[in-house]
């Protein structure tokens, strides 16, 4: 009976863990980088264009994009749709906090996947990888696109924050009830931070709001 474990099929375990892991790295890490770079819209148009041009001209750009952004998102989102289908939410029968989080995690994941697909298509492919401030500004001047961005940013940020909590619980990093409460606060903090920064970027472009523009002014 000692050898009986060897025949167990661990394929699904592997894909689940990979799904969980890719959500944090590289996808979560990339989202942090993405929000960071895009925050330059809050400084000035020139600064933003300079930074995005810098990113657009890095060596090995396409293989890096494919390996660290497109493939992980396609896998995480595609496998995520399967997981979304496999679960059956019962939050109306059992309206507990974590059960709400479970349900929201599935729906925000779906919204984020669709949003990101559309966002990458319009901003990365339609612009042939040379998107500028003017392109983003034009997109956001359309009220429909503006609201799509608001919904997309909130859903994605929630999904990441809650996903970090899930990750900490499901990898046995936060095991006790107390540690999991702490992890929940940490996830909430990450989610709230991403939401605020993401919204600031969208609103900054939409309303030409440049709170950090004074950085670029000459010293008095």
């Amino acid at each position: 009976m000692a050898a009986s474990g060897a025949s167990t099929n661990h394929r699904e375990y592997f894909w689940r863990k990979l799904h969980s892991f890719t959500g944090i790295f590289p996808i979560g890490a990339f989202l942090a980088e993405h929000f960071w770079s895009n925050s330059y819209v809050l400084v000035s148009v020139e600064k933003y264009n300079e930074v995005s041009r810098g990113l657009q001209t890095i060596p090995w750009r396409v293989p890096l994009e494919a390996l660290l952004i497109w493939l992980p998102i396609l896998f995480h989102g595609g496998y995520g749709v399967y997981l979304w289908w496999k679960g059956k939410s019962n939050v109306l029968d059992y309206p507990w906090m974590a059960n709400w989080m479970y349900t929201l995690q599935r729906w925000t994941g779906l919204v984020a996947f669709v949003f990101i697909g559309w966002h990458v298509y319009t901003e990365r492919f339609l612009t042939q990888g040379r998107s500028t401030y003017a392109d983003v500004e034009r997109a956001l001047s359309d009220p429909l696109y503006f609201w799509l961005y608001i919904v997309g940013v909130v859903a994605t940020s929630f999904h990441l924050g809650n996903g970090i909590w899930n990750f900490l619980c499901k990898w046995g990093i936060a095991t006790s009830a107390r540690a999991q409460r702490g992890a929940a606060w940490f996830g909430a903090l990450v989610g709230a931070t991403f939401t605020m920064v993401g919204l600031a970027i969208v609103l900054g472009v939409r309303f030409d709001w440049k709170p950090f523009e004074f950085y670029t002014l000459p010293r008095q």
């Binding site: 009976m1 167990t8 661990h10 375990y13 689940r16 939050v91 974590a98 989080m101 046995g172 999991q180």
Partner: protein
């Protein structure tokens, strides 16, 4: 004479596994300290519906009547719980009684929970000591470990944690929190720990621990207050450790 208080009950009935369920209404006279089991027994004594139609007694599973056997789990007003500890005075009327939805119905409120037993076997959640000669005494268990293990050992296999789990459904064969908790219990046991690896291998197999998606309903629904979420997380920690380092360091 003072007007007698009554209790209104709606019961989802099903005469056989392959038959269609239907609802019946009963009206019983109220008694102090009534619980759902007493209610069902009174219906069995006089199986007449509210409209006066003579029917059959409602089949249900029950044994200990003090929330230690797990047999009388059912959905009461939509929530999975034990019928013996569900007091009529604390329930909103009409009281709705339904069988657990995640197990095959045998008849009325009586479900077949043998799947849980099969899954305990699948996850090797027991201590195998059978053999052809006596093995002698096992290793001693530290009091600190005893204290950690005892709450886990209180599981009554009632199935409430499976019933409330959104990951347990017809599209998934997730074994559920109770079984993973038993894996943790037997991995904690000094004799059980001799088969820890095998249990972790099984728990990473089909329907295993990775199917948990952290909705954490199990711990809320558990009538025995078992720290199920902690158990799942602890087994997750051991499993991932074995998955990553198992093939590196043996």
């Amino acid at each position: 004479m003072a007007e007698t208080k009554t209790v209104l009950v709606h019961i989802k009935r099903q005469l056989a596994p392959d038959q269609k369920p239907y609802w019946e209404e009963f009206e019983l006279s109220w008694r102090p300290f009534m619980n759902v089991i007493i209610l069902l027994r009174e219906i069995a004594e006089r199986p007449v519906t509210r409209e006066g139609k003579v029917t059959t007694p409602v089949a249900f599973d029950a044994n200990c009547l003090e929330e230690v056997c797990g047999a009388c789990a059912m959905r009461i007003n939509g929530k999975a719980r034990q019928a013996c500890s569900a007091l009529v005075d604390q329930l909103e009327q009409p009281i709705r009684l339904e069988p657990l939805s995640k197990f095959p119905v045998v008849r009325d409120l009586f479900v077949d929970r043998s799947r849980m037993f099969e899954n305990l076997k699948r996850m090797k959640a027991w201590v195998p000591i059978d053999g052809t000669y006596p093995l002698g005494e096992g290793p001693r268990m530290a009091p600190e470990v005893q204290q950690r293990a005892y709450p886990l050992s209180r599981c009554i296999t009632c199935g409430n944690c499976l019933e409330v789990c959104p990951q347990v459904n017809e599209r998934s064969d997730f074994v559920g929190a109770a079984i993973i908790n038993q894996v943790r219990l037997f991995n904690l046991h000094p004799t059980g720990a001799m088969h820890k690896r095998e249990r972790l291998e099984a728990v990473m197999g089909p329907g295993g621990i990775h199917d948990c998606a952290n909705a954490q309903n199990c711990v809320k629904a558990c009538p025995k207050g078992i720290p199920l979420v902690e158990s799942i997380s602890e087994v997750n920690r051991d499993a991932i450790r074995q998955a990553i380092f198992g093939w590196l360091f043996g």
